[in-house]
Structure formats: structure tokens, C-alpha cells
């Protein structure tokens, strides 16, 4: 089988970096499995409870980079209680004991503690990169340990975490000898920032390419920081309350003009509603713009800025830009690949919100668009059909009509045909989120056409179990299915238990599944963890005489090779 010595094969494998491809390689034969596992440096674990640290280390002893994901996606929307799980400490402890040469750790939706950060910072001499996304459980004291002890730190990237800010001096814990920083993102910190320490740190980091500030960094500090870091590629502005007459603002204007490498702009966490014009000189270079936190900036100012951004590939914005604003985007940003339009008015009925017109305009004007997340007031089947025709290349299509069960606002029909057109035309579609009034029909279309679909989010949709069955039977590549407030029950859940072995996870909340249905599933599939999250009363489900027929509030099931987890809190019942 192998005509080449192992070293040659290994060298070939070095060129294969995607974890999906490496997983495929390892399945070819025993010899390749062995070569691959010793040479694998980056490991991705999509569900931290699908395996455990011991198995990880046994298989990949030369591990350098680990990515771990914890809580299910709906945890982002407060559907999963904080103490559910996803603790990183056991992983760090095991890695530390094994003396593996860890250099990079990327965590998403996990519980991180100061203790784990301290242990991490002390255990791996070559540790370079820490990326935490939507994590919680730690404070700035933990950051201080990372700053103080990781001598070769390159990336400290904190994205949208819940961090207890002790207003400490974590920034001054970086030793004077630390000059290796490339990425520093602390935008999610809520407290005061030691500006002197920050400025000194930036001044001694010549490789710093990505800097994202929190709201406690005022304009004059921003001006100074940009002056000493003209090599900046990715900037997150903190506070942007400016007086256009002030000296700070003039300094900022001058500094921005020198930042010719700037490609990505975000932040504006506290912004006065005027004057983004200081950034206009560098807009023509921008490829990424995230203004979703700039809630104070008017649509008209957003539009003026975007009109200069002809090379934009990624745009995240609030719906205050309006349909008219999206038309400007469509005519200006011909390179646009990814668009996210977030709602700006949570109480409903915003009159500056976007409609189907904005979406159609974008689809017509941006031929390279492949990913969209669009929150809107209303939609029509006709618009979706047009969008499908204009953009058959969608990989991710996520539409959220703010009012659940809302039909086509012109015809009052369900939106089945519109979404059907999307899945039929977009043959590469991997991720889909549905909304609006939808019957079982839309799921028939999804099962029939969405051959590449890996992730599907369903909310307030469908009529009967048939809907869910169409999806489970049809979508061969389904990995993550998350369903809330939809009338799917035990029949659909139990129809094909072996399907769940091919999927990473299934989430069902406020659906029709019952306790007895879940118990039967758990019996049939011992290789699944079937978790019932019941926050109200832990024992009620057992004591009540009708226990079998009781509806389960939240069900989360996932395949695993290590059985029931031991760290579940009392309100999580693993069947």
C-alpha cells in the first residue's frame, strides 16, 4: 500500500491542514492513521463532551493547537442556564500533566476560570495564542496571569465574553520585555483601562496588527495609539465621542491618514452621532467593517462612510441603515461576500428597520455574496425567489423575521415557497436559519434539495412531525439541528435513532417531545448523551404520576465516545 517511507508520507500530510481533510486521511488505512496522528498539530473538537482529554492526548501526543466548543449554540440567546457545563479546567489540567507543547488554545462557549488561566499561563513555555469567544467565568485577574507569565504571547483575543472586570492593572502585567504581541482584543471589557500601560504596550509591540479597544479608551488616547502604530491592520475603536474642533480630533485625523495598512474597522462602542469622516481617507482600503455596536450613529452617517468603502468584503451593521442604505451598499460594495444586518429596536415596530426590499437590492448588487444574516420586519415569497435567482452561491443563509409566524406580508401565505426557492437554487448551502410563517412544506423542500446542509435553525415553524422527519431523512450531511417552539414530538425524534450518530448534536426546546420518548431514545442509543434541562423543579418530572407524558422543556442530545459526563449540575438530567 505504501510505496513511500513514512517520513515522505508525513511530509505530504503537512500540506493538508484542514481538520476535515486530516480526519479523512486518518481513515484510509492503519498506516496512514498512525502517521497522521503523530504529525497532527491542530485539533478541533466541536463538542467538548464528545470525547475527553485523555483520549485526545493518547491519539495526538504532538498537539500544539486545540480548539474546543462547549455549550450549544442556543446558549447565545439565554436558552441554556449558566451552570450547564463546558468547563475548560479539566482539559488544561490534563494537557499540563502530559507536558504537551501547547501553543494555541481557542475556546467557544466554555466556562473559563481564573484558576484555569493561571494554570495555562504557567504550564506551557511556548504558549502563543489565546482566543476566547463567548466564554464566561473569569475576571481580569486571569488575564493578568496570562499577561505576566506567557513570555511569547502573540494573540490575546477576547470576543464577546462575560468578564468580571476588577479594574485591575492587568495591562501593566505585561513585562517590559514583552514585544511579541500581534493581536490584542479587549473590547468586551466593561471597566476602566490603564491608558498609560496600554500606550506603553502598544509602543513596544512593533508586530501589533490587530487592536480592539474597550469603551473606556477615549478619543485622545486613540489618537496617540494610532500615531505609534501606523502598521495597524485591524482596529476596534472604543469610545468615539468627539468634538470636531478639538486638538485630539485633529491629531486623530492625521494619525488615521498614516494607517495605510488598515483593512478592518469595528467598535465605536460609544459614539457621538456625528463625524465618522475622520476615517473617510482610509475607507477605500477597508475590506471589513463592523458597526453593529455603534448604536448611536445615524443611518445617514453610516451611509456616508460606506459610500467610500468600495472594496468591502464583510459588513456587519444595524438595521438603522434602512432599505435605502442597503441600496447604497448594493451599488457601492461590489466585492461584498458577507453581510449581517442586526435589529436596532428590540421593542418592535421600528420604522427605520429593513424589509425585503433591502435584501433584494443587496442580492442584485453584490454578485460575490455568500453569507447573510438578516433581521427584518417583513418578507415575501417573491423577494426570496428573486434573491435565490440573484445569488445561487449562498453558503450561509440566515433570515430572522422579528415577529414569529409572520406570513408573506403581501399574499398572507406561508413563506414555504420562498425558502424552497433558496434551498433549490443554492446547491452549496451549508447553513440555514428559518423564520416567519412556515408549514411542513418548507421542510419537504429542505429535505429534498439541501444536500450540503450542515446546520439548520428552526423557530416557530412546522405543523406536524412530518416536518422534522423530512429533514432527518433528507439532509445527509446534517451536523447540528436546533429547534425551538415547534410542534415536533416523539414520533419524529425516535424514527431513525442511527441518524444521530452522524450528527454532532440535536437541540429541541419548547417542542412536543415527552419524557418517555426521551427515555426510549436513550435506551436505544447508549452512545448518545440525552440531556434534559429542567430548571423549574428537578424532581417534579419523576414524582408526578403522569411522568411519561410530560413534555420536556429542553432536550439536548449529542454523540459521544465517553459516555455520561460527570460534571452536570442538578437541573440537567442525563438519561
Amino acid at each position: 500500500m505504501n510505496y513511500f517511507p513514512d517520513e515522505v508520507v508525513e511530509h505530504v500530510f503537512d500540506f493538508v491542514t484542514s481538520h476535515k481533510d486530516r480526519n479523512a486521511i486518518s481513515l484510509v488505512c492503519k498506516s496512514w492513521y498512525k502517521i497522521e496522528r503523530y504529525s497532527r498539530q491542530k485539533v478541533f473538537i466541536g463538542n467538548c463532551y464528545a470525547t475527553n482529554p485523555e483520549r485526545l492526548l493518547r491519539r495526538f501526543p504532538c498537539l500544539k493547537s486545540l480548539t474546543l466548543k462547549g455549550k450549544p449554540h442556543f446558549a447565545d440567546f439565554n436558552l441554556v442556564p449558566h451552570e450547564w457545563g463546558g468547563f475548560v479546567l479539566p482539559w488544561i489540567e490534563a494537557l499540563a500533566r502530559s507536558r504537551v507543547g501547547l501553543e494555541e488554545l481557542r475556546l467557544k462557549r466554555m466556562v473559563v476560570t481564573d484558576e484555569s488561566l493561571e494554570l495555562l499561563s504557567r504550564s506551557f513555555v511556548n504558549f502563543k495564542s489565546l482566543v476566547l469567544v463567548s466564554c464566561e467565568g473569569f475576571t481580569t485577574d486571569g488575564l493578568a496571569s496570562i499577561a505576566a507569565n506567557c513570555r511569547h504571547l502573540r494573540d490575546l483575543d477576547l470576543q464577546e465574553n462575560e468578564i468580571d472586570d476588577h479594574r485591575g492593572q492587568w495591562l501593566s502585567c505585561f513585562p517590559d520585555t514583552c514585544t511579541t504581541l500581534v493581536t490584542l482584543n479587549f473590547a468586551c471589557l466593561e471597566g476602566e483601562t490603564n491608558l498609560v500601560a496600554l500606550e506603553r504596550l502598544v509602543a513596544r509591540s512593533p508586530n501589533l496588527k490587530s487592536l480592539k479597544l474597550n469603551r473606556a479608551v477615549p478619543l485622545d488616547a486613540l489618537a496617540r495609539l494610532m500615531s505609534c502604530a501606523p502598521q495597524m491592520v485591524d482596529l476596534g475603536v472604543g469610545s468615539y465621542e468627539n468634538d470636531p474642533e478639538s486638538e485630539s480630533y485633529l491629531k486623530l485625523q492625521a494619525a488615521i491618514k498614516k494607517c495605510t495598512s488598515l483593512r478592518s474597522l469595528s467598535g465605536f462602542l460609544e459614539a457621538a452621532p456625528h463625524c465618522l469622516s475622520a476615517f473617510h481617507p482610509i475607507c477605500h482600503n477597508l475590506t471589513s467593517l463592523n458597526l453593529s455596536y455603534a448604536a448611536e450613529i445615524h443611518g445617514s452617517h453610516l451611509i456616508k462612510l460606506i459610500q467610500h468603502c468600495k472594496k468591502l468584503q464583510r459588513l456587519w451593521i444595524l438595521d438603522s441603515i434602512g432599505d435605502k442604505g442597503l441600496e447604497v451598499v448594493a451599488s457601492t460594495c461590489k466585492e461584498l461576500q458577507e453581510l449581517r444586518v442586526f435589529p436596532s429596536d428590540l421593542l418592535g415596530g421600528g420604522n427605520t428597520a429593513v424589509t425585503e426590499e433591502g435584501l433584494v437590492a443587496i442580492s442584485g448588487g453584490c454578485p460575490k455574496l455568500h453569507s447573510i444574516l438578516y433581521f427584518c420586519q417583513q418578507m415575501t415569497n417573491a423577494a426570496l425567489v428573486t434573491v435565490a435567482k440573484n445569488c445561487p452561491n449562498f453558503i450561509r443563509f440566515r433570515l430572522c423575521i422579528l415577529e414569529p409566524n409572520k406570513p408573506d406580508h403581501v399574499t398572507s401565505q406561508p413563506l414555504d415557497e420562498g425558502f424552497g426557492a433558496i434551498v433549490k437554487a443554492c446547491k452549496s448551502l451549508r447553513r440555514l436559519s428559518l423564520s416567519g410563517l412556515l408549514t411542513d412544506q418548507v421542510f419537504l423542500y429542505i429535505g429534498m434539495y439541501a444536500n450540503q446542509l450542515e446546520m439548520l435553525s428552526i423557530a416557530f415553524a412546522g405543523d406536524t412531525d412530518k416536518g422534522m422527519l423530512y429533514v432527518l431523512n433528507g439532509c445527509k450531511k446534517m451536523k447540528k439541528l436546533e429547534i425551538r417552539d415547534s410542534p415536533f414530538g416523539d414520533t419524529a425524534l425516535l424514527a431513525d435513532v442511527s441518524k444521530y450518530e452522524t450528527m454532532r448534536s440535536l437541540w429541541m426546546s419548547s417542542c412536543e417531545v415527552t419524557l418517555s420518548g426521551c427515555k426510549r431514545l436513550a435506551e436505544k442509543a447508549p452512545w448518545l448523551n440525552v440531556e434534559i434541562i429542567n430548571e423549574t423543579d428537578n424532581n417534579r418530572m419523576e414524582e408526578n404520576g403522569h411522568e411519561g407524558r410530560q413534555k420536556v422543556d429542553k432536550l439536548y442530545l449529542y454523540r459521544t465516545v465517553v459516555g455520561t459526563r460527570m460534571d452536570a449540575p442538578p437541573f440537567v438530567w442525563i438519561l
Binding site: N78, E160, P343, A459, S510, E535, T536, R540, Q550, K551
Partner: protein
């Protein structure tokens, strides 16, 4: 089959510890989960729309006056020479144009901003400092912050 007696509009969030047990939770979804589109939801849900907590918090902290039922700015409006005034909610307008349109309609005559001429009614306002100023010179948002009342001057007729 257990029927729900749940409410006809969204109530508190799902992580609320006083939430009814699963047997009472929403069953017939077309009944129990209608979002009334006419009345604004005073208390936003924590799990809908599906956006991350950080974004939700950032939107809640908005300082701009929102043009919804919550904010209004009623000022007195006088037509020169007419002793009885009117009251107008300035927050109901998107800018100077719609304000003028509305006032013109209210008084059944063309009202303009800008230089006083002999033919037209010109709109003026009293600001925070008590000074009478020409309407239209400053941005609308700034105007809303400083205006105390409005006066429509009569055309000079000789």
C-alpha cells in the same frame, strides 16, 4: 393531551424560575405565541430576537430618543397675533420638512424656514437660553434638545 392555558402574548423569559412546569408550557403554538404587532412590547424578551447578550445590552443602552410611544416632546406653538396657542409633539416628526408640512396643514397656510420676507409666514423658536432664533440652522437632533417653544411670524403687510 394537555392543553396549555398560557398567555396570548409573550411573557417572561424562559430562564425565569417562576416559569410553569413543562406540562403547562406552550402547546398550541399558533394560539400561545402571537406577538401583538400593534401594541409595543414594554418588556423585551431575553431569548428573542436571537441576538447575543452583548449586542442586546448595547442596544438597551442607546441614548438617542427613540421615536416610539415612550418619548415625546410637546412644545407650545403660537401664530403671531393669535392669543390661543397649540401644542405639538416634535418627536413625531423626522425633521424640519415634516414639521413645516404639518404646521402648514395645521394653520392652513404655507410656513417656511429661513429668511424673513414679506410674503410668507416664517417659523421661529425660543431656545434654552430664552433667545428667539430662526428655525432650520442647526441639525434636527440638536434642535430637539434646545427648543422650548415655536412662534410663527406673520408676513409683513404694508
Amino acid at each position: 393531551m394537555e392543553f396549555s392555558n398560557s398567555c396570548s402574548s409573550f411573557s417572561s423569559s424562559s430562564v425565569d424560575s417562576t416559569k410553569p412546569s413543562p406540562s403547562e408550557s406552550s402547546v398550541n403554538l399558533s394560539l400561545s405565541l402571537t406577538f401583538p404587532s400593534t401594541s409595543p412590547q414594554r418588556e423585551a424578551r431575553q431569548d428573542w430576537p436571537p441576538i447575543k447578550s452583548r449586542l442586546r445590552d448595547s442596544l438597551k443602552g442607546r441614548r438617542l430618543p427613540r421615536r416610539d410611544d415612550d418619548t415625546s416632546l410637546f412644545v407650545k406653538v403660537y401664530m403671531e397675533g393669535v392669543p390661543i396657542g397649540r401644542k405639538l409633539d416634535l418627536c413625531a416628526f423626522s425633521g424640519y420638512e415634516s414639521l413645516l408640512e404639518n404646521l402648514s396643514h395645521m394653520y392652513d397656510t404655507l410656513i417656511i424656514c429661513g429668511k424673513r420676507d414679506r410674503k410668507h409666514h416664517v417659523l421661529t423658536y425660543e431656545d434654552k437660553d430664552g433667545d428667539w432664533m430662526m428655525v432650520g440652522d442647526i441639525p434636527w437632533d440638536m434642535f430637539l434638545e434646545t427648543v422650548r417653544r415655536l412662534k410663527i411670524t406673520r408676513p409683513e403687510r404694508y
